[in-house]
Structure formats: C-alpha cells, structure tokens
C-alpha cells in the first residue's frame, strides 16, 4: 500500500465514521464534530486526488578548483556564487532598476578587476558619491557588507570567480588567470558543500 492509498483509506474511514455518527448519534456536539470530520476528510481526499509531488532538495554540488580547465567554467561557478552563497543578488541586479543597490549591468567593462576586488573586500574604502538610484527611493537600510568576512565569507577563489562572472556578463574578456586560483587547502577551501 502506498502512502497515498493509506491516506486515502484513512480519509474515507473518517468520512464513513462521521456519516455513521450523523446516522446514529443524537448528541448535537458530537454531530457537529462529525460534520467537521466529514468536511476535513473530504478535503483530504480531494487533495489526494490532485497530482502528488514532493519538492526535493537539489543534488549537492561540489566545486573543485583543480578541475577547472576553462575561464568559461570559472565564470559559470561565479554565476552560482553571485546568485547563491555570495548573496549578491539579494540587493544587486543585472540590467534592471528593481534592485535596492547599484545595478551591475556592464560593471565588468566599466571597472577594473582590482577595483571590483576592493569593492568586495573593502566596501567603504571608495564610495561613488554620484550614484543615483533610478526611480523611487526605497527604504531598505543596508550597506554593502564585507564579502570576505562573516556572515557571507567568500574565500579568495570564490571572489575571483564572481569577478570572472561579472566580466563575462559584461561581454568582456575574463582577466582572471586560472593559475591565480589557490590550490584547495586540506580543509577544502575551494568549495563548500552548501554552496
């Protein structure tokens, strides 16, 4: 018996029991509760008759710096970090004014990689004063966090991957050389399983 069949059987038993109470029991309170049970049983049966689908967590991905052979792959990893662990996309957008912070479209072409690196690790060192938010100002008090410190805490390789992604997103040549990537340490600094 599958789980669905088991639940269906339970649902039908509840409805049946409720029906029997309505037929044989006179006490008002019990009757009302039986009525409630019938309604709930019927609801479960309807829910069991629509397509059943559980949502599984995705397969765990491991990133191994040593296996990267192309800059394209590095940019692809950077894309995952940008929208995932790096939490960049919580504020920044690429090509939309909907974000709360500067839009990063074409940023890889506008800024040098050194500047981007500094912006990520020393966010308050140089702040564009002429940055204007497009559209209505939004009140989400947040300032750029240190990306290489807690709670986000990307390591050097991951930051380089993000820069590679930003450059390739802007249609630029990726200037990160694969040789710059630090070999993964014994603790596996190159990738984390919850990436």
């Amino acid at each position: 018996m599958t789980e669905v069949q088991l639940l269906q059987t339970i649902g039908m038993s509840v409805v049946g029991l409720g029906g029997a109470i309505l037929l044989f029991v006179k006490a008002r309170f019990v009757r009302v509760m039986a009525f409630v049970a019938i309604v709930l049983g019927a609801f479960s049966l309807v829910a069991l008759s629509v397509p059943q689908m559980a949502s599984m967590p995705p397969a765990v991905e491991k990133i191994d710096v040593a296996s990267i052979k192309e800059k394209k792959e590095l940019a692809a990893i950077g894309q995952k970090i940008f929208f995932g662990k790096g939490q960049c996309a919580l504020c920044h957008t690429i090509g939309s004014s909907e974000g709360r912070c500067p839009d990063l479209k074409g940023v890889g072409a506008k800024l040098t990689r050194e500047f981007i690196y500094e912006s990520l690790t020393q966010p308050q060192a140089y702040v564009y004063k002429d940055y204007e938010h497009v559209g209505q100002a939004k009140f989400f008090p947040a300032k750029m966090p240190y990306i290489n410190k807690k709670p986000i805490g990307l390591n050097n390789n991951e930051i380089l991957a993000v820069i590679a992604f930003l450059q390739s997103m802007s249609g630029e040549e990726v200037t990160i050389n694969l040789s710059e990537l630090a070999a993964p340490g014994p603790a596996g600094s190159g990738g984390r399983k919850d990436l």
């Binding site: 309604v39 709930l40 069991l48 599984m56 989400f140 240190y146």
Partner: protein
C-alpha cells in the same frame, strides 16, 4: 462569581496543558540525550518516530491559529463596544464582553503553545535559531516587553469591564484601543522573523539594533502584516460565528436561540467584512514575492505548489458560497414573507458565484489521464485553458466579491422601505455604479489576455481592485444613509433559523482554518530547501517539502485539533457559568423570544426601529 469561575478555569486547563507539555517534552528530552556529537555543534535534533518537523508543524500551526484568533477578536470586540456606547444598545456591550471572554480564555493557551514552540525550535533547530537570535536579538526584547504590556492591558480590560461602566467607560475604551495597538505590534514583530526567512536582506556589520532593524524591513514584511491583520479578523469573526452556531444548535430554550442566532449573524458579518478585502491583500503579497524573487514566485504559482492554489480556490469558493448561503437563509427565515421577493435575485447571484468559482477552479494544467492528455494535445485544454491564467482568476475573484457584497446589501435592506425622497435616485445610482463596475472588471479581464503581463499586473488588475473597492466604499455609506430614514416594514424574527444555518457557520469556520493551514504550508514550502531563503540551507533530513496530499492530511489533522482545542477552551470558560454566563445576556429579550425588539438587519448602527 465571575472572578472565581475564571480562576477555576485557569487552573483547570493550566493543569491539563502542563501534562500535555510534559508529554511533549519527554520524547524531546530523550532525543537530546541521544545525539550530542562530540566536538562539532549540533545542527539538528530529531524526534524518533514522529519526526522533528512534523512536531514543529503541529505546534506552530496551533500556536498560529490561536494567535490569529487572539489578535483578531480584540479588534471587533472593541468595535462592538464602541457601537454599544454610540447606540446605547446594551446588546453590543454584552456581545463585546462575551467576545472578550473567549479571548481571555484562549490567551493563556496561545502563550503556552508559543512557549512550547520556542523550546522545540531551540531544541530541534539549534543552528537556525542561533542564526536568527544573532540577527534578531533586540526584537526578542521588544517582543517580551510588548507581551507584558498586552497581558497587563488584557487583564485590566477584562476584569475592569463591569467596574468601568458609566463615567469610566471612556477609559475602558482607551484600554481596548491600547490592547489592539499592542496586539498589532505583537503580530508585527514575529512577522519580521518569519518574513526574513522567506525574503532575507543582506546583513552588514553594525550595531545589534541596526542589524535587527535592517532584517526587519524586508520586502514581504508589510504585505504579510496587512494580510495577517485582515485574515485574523476573518478568522476571529468566523470562529465566533461557529461558536454561536454550535451554541445555537445546542440551545435549550428560545432565549438562547435568539441570542446565539444574533451572535452568529454578527460573527458571519465580521468574517465577510474582512473577507472582501482579503484577496487584494493576498494579491499584493504575491506580487511582492514575485518581485523579490521570481524563482519563489514560480515555485508558488507555476511550479510544484501550483495545485495548492486550486485547493485554495475551492476553499475560498466554499467560504464565499457558505457565507452567502447564511445571508440568504437569514433573509428567507428571519424576514417573514420574503421568499417570493428574493428567490429570483438569490438564484441569479448563486449562478454567478458558481460560474465564477468554476472558472477560478479550472486549473492551468489539468488533471488528466495520459490518454485524455493525448487527445487534448497536452495538459492544456484549447478552450478552457484560457481560464487557467491570472487574468481570468482575478476577474472572477472580483466578481465574487461584488456578488457577496450585494448579498450583504440585500440583507441589510430586506424588510425595510426607504422613506427619503431621494431614495429612488440613490438606488438607481447604486445600480449604475454596480453595473459599470461589473462591466469594467469583465472588460479589463478579457483585455488582460492581449497585453503584456506587466501592463496587466500593474494597471489592469490594480484598476479592477480599485473599481471594486470604489463600489464597496460608495455603496456602503449610501445604503447606510438610506437606511437611516428607512421604515421597517417587516420586523426580523430571531431564533427561527433552521439547523443547517448553524452547520453553515461551522463549515465557514472550518474553511477559514483550513485556508490558514494551507497557506502556512505554502509559505513554508515556497522556501523549498532553505531555512533562510538563499542564505541558510536546510541540511536536515526534512529539507524536502512533502506532497500536497500528505500535507493536506496534516492540515486536516491540525484543523481538527484546533477545533477541539477551541471547543475545550470555550467549554472550560463557561464551566459553572451556565446560568450566569453569556447565554443569559439577553435581558432585553422580552416574551417568548419569537421577536427581537432590537436591531433589525443592520448590524452597525441599529437603526430602522421606532
């Protein structure tokens, strides 16, 4: 007397829940003892057999439902009290007091479940709770302070009820106001924790207060606050209605029947009143979610949760039909001789409601056997597929709101005759407003198929909502004005409703509770395998979201448990007070209870007499 009884009841269920809490805590304690790995910090603990998530699910859901009730009731209890003062009708004051009695008796249980939930969360999800405490610690303090204030105010409000009649009534009303203010913030603060989990913002370095403040202002915080506020009123109203319905069914004499018939009517009215704007709030929330993260929006509306919204449509549909049914039963039974006059308009409204519901419940991708799908050329039907998209759903939801509103207006007017000279003009005006509104809603709905999604969402749907709100906000005061000078031709007769009216009230409450459990599952599942969306992943064995059927069985279980719990609490509250309690608050009823001397159809202010 009152005091004694209440104390007794407090002891009674305090004892019961101590036992219950102990029973729950026992296995948790065992689980703690079982796995405490040396070295690394514990991320999760489990409860063998039942599963930690299932336990959290039940306790959190019970707490939330109780909290919704406890936060919703003071709003309309207070409004009822004001109405009582303004109109001088003691019935409303008594009703407000009876509502507050229900509130007082469920307050402690709510807190108790909150406490159990907190302990369980700390015990079972230490990693997550650690993270959240890091971010939100200051708001925990604020919450505690608010809780103290709320408790103190509630006790003053309840125990001071009789003492503060007369010249001190103003002070009492102020207490009621404070009670609601604190209650609102008690809801708003935890909402920030839950919404942060669904739509986190980045946390930078800073003071502890700055961090909490940043996290609190996340994109879905206010949409959820508003949605919950309205939903709590709806929940409170319908539960009070169901309480009255049950009491009506169990009534021993005519006086009780008259009283609970009326109370059921008020409860249903409050529920419908809240229900009308609720879809708008839900729509706003959904829009914010979509805008915050398209992925989450798709998971909800088009992805693995899309079927949930068909179930939601079914529940809302039954709720709408049930509420209207109760109104119509009221017209047919409480107003003698009304049947011939109202049968036809009711049939029209019923047909519109059901057609709209049919459209709403038609899914985008249909449940079809593979052979049926092969014949259709996919799971989209070439003709009925058009009902599956948002444009159609928004349109029919708006139409259903309009129909329900008309039901309510019809009930309000039933048995009365306008005397004002401008009555004809006003009625024609109302008809024109309504007619135009329906046309605008339908035209925009159809047109919505031919414009880009963003135009539809930003302009068409918004316009539909505004048009419906406009109807609500113009026709209501206009009818109020008309009724002020209206002459009652047929007095309402209370206490003669058939048994099915009581069952309808109970059904409506069950639908609302089920809806809340369903949407709780939706909010939780839309985060898929994240504790904090995109920031902290759920790495426990319960990271998956269960399928709808399994979840529905849990929702049904939760709903049933909640019903039993509420029934028990209310029963305890009336222990020993059968003779002196709310049931006899019908002092103003004279004679055999066949006719009510007071307010006719109009729920607020009771006019039309004399």
């Amino acid at each position: 007397m009152e005091h004694m009884r209440n104390q007794k009841s407090v002891y009674a269920y305090a004892a019961l829940f101590l036992v219950l809490a102990f029973a729950v805590a026992m296995p948790v304690g065992l689980a703690w003892a079982e796995d405490a790995p040396a070295g690394a910090a514990t991320e999760y603990r489990d409860i063998p057999g039942m599963g930690s998530r299932n336990l959290i699910w039940i306790v959190a859901q019970q707490h939330l439902l109780l909290a919704g009730f406890v936060l919703g009731v003071p709003i309309f209890a207070w409004v009822c009290e004001i109405v009582g003062v303004r109109t001088g009708d003691q019935r409303y004051d008594k009703l407000a007091k009876e509502f507050t009695k229900l509130l007082t008796s469920s307050y402690a249980t709510t807190a108790l479940f909150g406490g159990i939930l907190l302990f369980l969360l700390i015990g079972l999800y230490p990693k997550l709770m650690n993270y959240l405490s890091d971010v939100f610690f200051p708001s925990f303090l604020v919450y505690c302070a608010l809780f103290l204030l709320e408790t103190a105010t509630l006790y003053l409000y309840w125990y001071g009820w009789d003492a503060m009649q007369g010249s001190k009534k103003g002070l009492h009303l102020f207490l009621g106001f404070l009670l609601n203010v604190f209650a609102f913030f008690i809801m708003v603060v935890p909402n920030s924790w839950a919404t942060f989990q669904a739509s986190p913002v980045v946390i930078a370095e800073g003071s502890m207060w700055a961090k909490a403040w940043t996290a609190t202002w996340n994109p879905t915080w206010w949409p959820v606050n508003i949605h919950r506020l309205i939903a709590n009123v709806v929940l409170g109203g319908y539960i009070c209605g169901a309480y009255a319905g049950l009491k009506y069914l169990m009534a021993q004499n005519a006086e009780e029947r008259v009283h609970y018939d009326w109370m059921g009517y008020v409860g249903n009215f409050i529920g419908v009143f809240g229900l009308l704007p609720l879809p708008f709030a839900g729509y706003w929330l959904m829009r914010e979610i979509y805008q915050y993260n398209q992925q989450m929006g798709i998971t909800l509306m088009g992805g693995f949760l899309s079927w949930l919204f068909i179930l939601q449509a079914m529940l809302i549909g039954i709720l709408f039909v049930g509420s209207n049914y109760y109104f119509w039963l009221g017209i047919m039974h409480r107003i003698p001789g009304s049947e011939a006059r109202y049968r036809r308009p009711i049939l029209t409204m019923l047909v519109i409601l059901l057609v709209c519901l049919g459209v709403w419940m038609t899914p985008h991708s249909l449940v079809a056997s593979l052979e049926e799908a092969r014949k259709m050329g996919g799971t989209h039907h070439p003709l009925l597929g058009v009902f599956g998209v948002m444009s159609a759903k928004m349109t029919v939801a708006n139409l259903m709101i309009l129909v329900t509103f008309m039901s309510f207006i019809m009930y309000w007017r039933a048995g009365k005759e306008e005397t004002a000279r401008w009555a004809k003009v006003a009625k024609a005006g109302q008809g024109v407003i309504l007619g135009i509104a329906v046309i605008v809603v339908v035209v925009l709905g159809v047109w919505g198929y031919f414009v880009p999604a963003i135009t539809r969402i930003n302009y068409f749907s918004t316009t539909q909502v505004l048009v419906v709100l406009f109807v609500l906000l113009t026709v209501t005061p206009l009818t109020g004005l008309l009724m002020k000078s209206a002459r009652t031709t047929t007095e309402m007769v209370w206490g003669v409703m058939p048994a099915r009216a009581g069952y309808a009230l109970v059904l409506n409450a069950v639908m609302v509770i089920l809806l809340m459990t369903l949407m709780g599952y939706a909010r939780s599942s839309s985060r898929v395998h994240w504790h904090v969306y995109g920031v902290m992943q759920d790495t426990s064995q319960y990271a998956y979201s269960p399928a709808l059927g399994y979840a529905a069985a849990f929702m049904a279980l939760n709903t049933f448990m909640f019903c039993m719990l509420v029934a028990f609490i209310f029963w305890v509250a009336t222990l020993g007070g059968e003779k002196k309690g709310g049931a006899t608050d019908t002092a103003s009823v004279k004679g055999k209870g066949a006719t009510s001397p007071a307010a006719g159809g109009a729920p607020v202010p009771a006019t039309g007499r004399q």
